[in-house]
Symmetry: C2
Subunit: 215 residues, 2 copies
């Protein structure tokens, strides 16, 4: 699988994560098989795209009933999931940090938010939604102790640049940044910058374009 | 501009939104000019990419001092922004909905969240962070009254599919969906499905891949 794995494009990885979530929902409803065009329909894409994605990870299915839901879940999980659990910390337990934690912890995923960091004395030392909140000063030490490999940055935007060095020094390997400041890290650290403002401005732009092409 | 505009790829639209935010921050700090490689560095991309994006929207700059920050802000704004303001409603004023509203309303953007909808009697009729919360039953009527064109779906995932019909019937033109259920709409309605779980699973996957290629 190694050689196949290395070449999986970002967008395919995203879709595999989405397919799996849909498959898990099917499984919970007792659905045992699903056709590629049904899976495609749920995700608003073509069946060709679904088949191409699954071909990329070496999955093929001959069954006349479509894909076996359980087998496909297991197959995608072997591709996406790490054999050892990955612990996640949230940096900045404001509204966004708390929303992300609440949203995530109800999901029963392999990935788990195990710690939060903040500098607010009202939060440090407390437990928010079952997640202990530590002082940012103890970040490097706690990352090692709790074996945290990924951080979600949900601090105020103005604070975000100050978090880069501690994140590097602590040996963090992946960063999901929700602030408005794009953060850059040395090679070897995976970073995804997702500003909600950008997402919304993108939707607004295409709404405007649709409007003007219709008028 | 029309012809140029229509062909702007999604990723370029995203980057234009990001460039503008950086340029606005520069402007606030009194910076009047910026080189393409500096703008590129902030966003972790190449100067070639920046110049290609700006060429796509027909912007060129000969100045030896780099791009004029104010002129470039105005130029990008003419591309991205709608001449008339676009009103946004949040569907589901739970933790995520509230976090998004708080995050957004401090930003002074052209886009503004003007209403929220929920079914929780504790929320309906109240004002949360300055945003009035209406009952979902009044959705179609209020969309017309308040001239809302975009909705952010931050309801519980299980509820999301029930929102599709009201959104279509109300004449909404753009949807930013943060739930775990991908939502499909007829052509003419722009939809972006952004599940935080997918973003995090993607980061985790590439961390795992980095690890295994280093070992």
């Amino acid at each position: 699988m190694g050689a196949l794995n290395n070449g999986i494009p970002e967008k395919t990885v995203e879709r595999l994560s989405e397919y799996r979530r849909t498959l898990l929902a099917c499984h919970r409803q007792g659905i045992t098989h699903i056709f590629s065009h049904v899976l495609a329909g749920i995700h608003g894409i073509t069946a060709v795209q679904v088949r191409r994605d699954l071909m990329l990870i070496g999955f093929s299915s001959d069954t006349k009933k479509g894909y076996d839901v359980q087998i496909l879940i297991d197959y995608i999980s072997r591709i996406l999931d790490s054999p050892q659990p990955m612990n996640i910390a949230v940096l900045g337990m404001g509204h966004l940090g708390q929303a992300i934690t609440k949203y995530f912890n109800g999901k029963g995923l392999k990935l788990s938010i195990t710690a939060a960091f903040d500098i607010d004395p009202a939060k440090v030392g407390t437990t928010i939604d079952g997640i202990p909140c530590y002082h940012m000063e103890t970040f490097e030490q706690m990352v090692e102790e709790l074996e945290i490999s990924i951080v979600i940055v949900s601090s105020p935007t103005s604070v975000a640049p100050q978090l880069v060095l501690p994140i590097i020094n602590a040996g963090i390997k992946g960063v999901l940044n929700f602030t408005s400041t794009p953060l850059n890290f040395p090679q070897g650290i995976v970073v995804e910058n997702y500003d909600i403002t950008t997402l919304l401005e993108k939707v607004a732009y295409f709404v405007k374009e649709n409007d003007s092409s219709n008028s």
